[in-house]
């Protein structure tokens, strides 16, 4: 059988950051975790599957960046001189930052599948997946699309109340 090198083949660890609740600090944690791992010399990617409220671009000050295509798919936005932090978010695909993504489930699912399989991540030590609050389309689709790959696990974020 042909061994197809998928876009996630070079990713060593994939972890999801989840919460049932909104506004508890998922995106903040993803950002800080990614930066800390990069400081420790790791190659890190963040996949932002919050399609309605993507926070990752602004948190890393790259909200004005755009995404390009290459032969293997989309090229993530890379930060830093060494490009050791790679990002993908719907935020980079919007024409205007205030544009609302008013999509029902099926359309969201299609984009998430693309985000998982069609981003040319290259070699990463960690891919951190930031999610929206809830247990719905985005979460089901992300987990299904990631199933063939080794998922390290999920970090759950909450606040005390």
């Amino acid at each position: 059988a042909l061994a197809e090198r998928t876009n996630l083949a070079g990713v060593r660890h994939i972890l999801l950051v989840l919460s049932g609740k909104g506004g508890v600090g998922k995106s903040t944690l993803c950002t800080e975790l990614a930066l800390a791992l990069r400081s420790a010399g790791k190659r890190v990617g963040i996949l932002d599957v919050d399609l309605c409220g993507p926070s990752i671009p602004r948190m890393l000050r790259v909200q004005d960046s755009a995404v390009h295509q290459c032969a293997s798919g989309w090229v993530p936005v890379c930060l830093g001189q060494d490009g050791a932090l790679a990002l993908m978010s719907i935020g980079f695909l919007l024409e205007r930052p205030d544009d609302a993504v008013v999509w029902r489930g099926p359309k969201k699912n299609a984009l998430i599948k693309q985000f998982v399989t069609d981003v040319a991540w290259g070699d990463l030590d960690f891919l951190i997946v930031d999610t929206p609050p809830g247990t719905s389309d985005e979460h089901i689709s992300t987990v299904e699309a990631l199933r063939p790959h080794q998922l390290l696990g999920a970090v759950l974020v909450t606040t005390p109340q």
């Binding site: 049932g20 926070s55 205030d98 993504v101 008013v102 969201k108 109340q161």
Partner: protein
């Protein structure tokens, strides 16, 4: 025919207010619960609180109704009543255990929302308050579609002062414009904290880009009010009590009451304008 059935069911609802935000965790459910309590303080008004956050329903706990179940009658599902004039409906009442996850895709969520509107026997309602999950997706499209944008008095959009919230809220404002939903105004929660000991004010969530005030100016929407952080709010919510009743002297209570009054005035004006047209 389906749309006609829904409209028939909701004919006895005088005013409908949607509580929205692009952002999670800013206080939509808290505000929805307090708005419902505030409106129901007038015992002559019949208030209904509908929670369409299917994955994370907070309303049952906030209203002190955890563990309640929905009963069926000949005329449909019966809302759970907190007071005689305040009825509540939420998916939370349909779960066998409060920790059960509702892991549904969009179409199934839409189906339940339709049922909430079609099968719940709300009776005559002066105010229907609808609490929503964060985002601009299935739940939001469905509620606007099923209620009919024209029949909704308007949306109250909740935010907190920081830019990370505002950037999602601007999207929500655009959503409202897109679906022709009038915006009653914006509420800025967690707007400053006054220490009960030293009385110093801190900005826990600094408005680095001017907060809701600047955003409202830029987008030409009304700022209904700013509500300061008060740890008692979270405590009351956790205990299912009305914060307005538990802390009547809090600056946050004063803010909430002013905002609720402005919403009432907006609805009354909206209604009398409609009557003039008719």
């Amino acid at each position: 025919a389906e749309a006609a059935e829904l409209r028939e069911r909701l004919r006895a609802v005088r005013h409908t207010v949607l509580v929205l935000s692009g952002k999670g965790g800013v206080g939509k459910s808290t505000f929805s619960a307090l708005l419902a309590h505030g409106l129901a303080a007038d015992e002559t008004k019949q208030v209904a609180l509908l929670d369409i956050d299917i994955c994370g329903p907070s309303i049952p706990k906030m209203m002190g109704l955890e563990g309640e179940q929905v009963h069926q009658s000949g005329s449909g599902w019966s809302p759970v009543y907190v007071e005689e004039n305040l009825g509540v409906m939420s998916v939370g009442f349909l779960l066998s255990s409060p920790d059960d996850a509702v892991i549904w895709r969009g179409p199934k969520k839409n189906g339940l929302i339709k049922q909430f509107l079609r099968d719940v026997d709300w009776g005559e309602v002066d105010y229907l308050v609808v609490d929503t999950p964060p985002g601009t997706s299935d739940e939001h499209l469905s509620i606007v579609q099923y209620l009919g944008a024209a029949r909704i008095d308007g949306a109250v959009i909740v935010t907190t002062p920081q830019e990370v919230s505002l950037q999602d809220v601007r999207k929500e404002i655009n959503f409202c414009h897109k679906v022709k939903l009038p915006i009653i105004g914006v509420v800025e929660n967690m707007s400053g904290f006054v220490c009960p000991k030293c009385r110093n004010e801190s900005q826990i969530f600094p408005p680095t880009t001017g907060g809701a005030e600047k955003m409202c100016q830029n987008l030409n929407v009304s700022l209904l009010g700013k509500v300061p952080l008060d740890p008692q709010i979270g405590r009351s919510c956790d205990r299912g009590q009305s914060f307005l009743a538990e802390a009547p002297e809090s600056p946050a209570t004063l803010s909430y009451r002013n905002i609720i009054q402005r919403i009432q005035e907006y609805c009354e004006q909206h209604h009398s304008q409609e009557e003039k047209i008719m």
